[in-house]
């Protein structure tokens, strides 16, 4: 326990927010610091930080944005590291629709395939790589519906509007939410560049450093893994 209880404003990428709630609760119990979570898309957070947002920590959904901020001198140099790596899943709420090898993609008997926008979201970029690797990109391009982020992509599929979609493993594995039904294919890591999510300390403070230390710790890594992420 630290001597002074501090308050940390933590900007966290939407895809990681459920996991972060659990992490933060544990950290708060252990240290007495309080954490205010600010959900949002990494792009928005980036813009806001550039324009003076009062955030202490930035948990991004990619490596790109924290790196830019660090280079711009808006973060504490040397505090940037990878806290999680996302896993891509091809999922459908229908049972037995997706086989463990994901051959359904090639069969192509669906109207819409959902994925995140590859220009904006790392999961989208990864999904695109998978399709390209399988040589299906040009075939399926016309049937793609693209969510702004991975959360929206999930909603496309969940509502049944798209029959299947590439989403994050964390979205169907979260212990905190309802049991996810349906069928899925966990895409092998070799099919796409790792989806590395990095954190950056924006304002130096003992509590901030404490939190980074906690994230790196064994307890936190276990927790992160239990939500469907890889950890370095």
């Amino acid at each position: 326990h630290s001597v002074w209880a501090e308050e940390l404003k933590v900007a966290v990428a939407s895809n990681f927010s459920v996991t972060m709630i659990r992490l933060a609760r544990t950290f708060q119990e252990e240290t007495g610091h309080s954490i205010i979570l600010i959900n949002g898309s990494t792009g928005k957070h980036y813009t806001q930080i550039k324009n003076g947002a009062p955030f202490d920590l930035f948990f991004a959904a990619d490596r790109h944005h924290p790196k830019l901020l660090e280079e711009a001198g808006l973060g504490i140099a040397g505090t940037r590291f990878t806290y999680a790596a996302g896993r891509l899943v091809l999922w459908s709420p229908k049972d037995d629709y997706i086989d463990p090898e994901g051959k359904r993609l090639a069969i192509g008997d669906f109207r819409h395939l959902a994925m995140a926008n590859p220009q904006l979201a790392p999961y989208g970029k990864a999904a695109r790589e998978v399709l390209e690797k399988r040589g299906l990109w040009h075939i399926l391009e016309g049937r793609l519906v693209r969510g702004e982020n991975i959360g929206q992509t999930f909603q496309f599929v969940k509502s049944g509007s798209a029959e299947l979609g590439f989403i994050a493993l964390s979205q169907i594995k979260s212990p905190g939410t309802e049991k996810i039904e349906g069928s899925y294919w966990v895409v092998p890591r070799s099919f796409y560049e790792p989806i590395l999510q990095e954190v950056l300390l924006l304002k130096d403070s003992p509590a901030g450093r404490d939190f980074l230390r906690f994230i790196k710790g064994e307890e936190a890594r276990k927790m992160i893994q239990s939500f469907g992420y890889d950890t370095p």
Partner: protein, 223 residues
């Protein structure tokens, strides 16, 4: 890509505005002239969608339109194509969401006419629909202008609902507002600025023409 998005945007906004005025007219007329308890409820219900965030509306819409949702289910049973991720779905969502912006001004415009001009028309042999067309409509033209401008502009700018229902399919459901948004999110500020400027300019010119026409008419009326 951006040209097709512009075209799609104008098509969506134009069509939505048209449908909005079409639906809004009888609704506003009825609201302006009835005095039942029911009216108050409908009055409130029309403005209600506004209080939900567009994305959330979009989400509920998506759920309703999906094959398990009640709209989607009914449509499917009737053999229709599902509406999600189609242009028709976009139109439907936009209309639903912009309705209060059209109904409000129209209702006020109809109220402001009062009963007298319609009574006069009825003693001049005009049947109800006839006097609606030849007296109520032209006398409510200020309200129509406001309603059309608000409905059109809101549809152009709105993207929460559209994003959700449309699925951002280039050439089909990717409107300009989404394109701009995407550019901003992707830190492609130059493109975003450029597109925003273009959109603003086109809209400004459009609005100038519309208001300019009204202005000319008013000036005439005062001379």
């Amino acid at each position: 890509m951006d040209i097709s998005a512009l075209w799609l945007t104008l098509k969506l906004a134009g069509l939505s505005t048209f449908i909005l005025l079409l639906i809004g007219t009888p609704l506003a007329w009825w609201l302006a002239r009835t005095h039942t308890r029911l009216k108050v409820i409908i009055d409130a219900a029309v403005a209600l969608p506004l209080v939900l965030p567009p994305t959330v509306i979009g989400f509920y819409f998506l759920v309703a339109l999906g094959s398990k949702g009640w709209i989607g289910g009914v449509l499917e049973r009737l053999g229709g194509r599902p509406l999600a991720f189609t242009f028709s779905g976009l139109v439907m969502g936009s209309v639903f969401y912009s309705l209060p912006f059209v109904v409000g001004p129209l209702k006020d415009a109809f109220s402001a006419i009062g009963r007298r001009p319609l009574e006069v028309a009825s003693t001049l042999r005009a049947r109800p629909f006839d006097r609606f067309l030849t007296v109520a409509l032209p006398m409510a033209r200020h309200g129509y202008l406001t309603a059309a401008v608000l409905g059109f502009a809101h549809t152009v700018g709105e993207f929460g609902v559209v994003l959700m229902i449309g699925g951002n399919i280039p050439g089909e459901t990717q409107v300009l507002s989404i394109a701009i948004y995407d550019h901003v999110e992707a830190l492609q500020y130059d493109q975003a600025h450029w597109l925003s400027a273009a959109l603003l300019l086109v809209s400004f010119l459009l609005l100038l023409v519309v208001y300019g026409m009204k202005h000319r008419r008013k000036k005439e009326a005062f001379r």
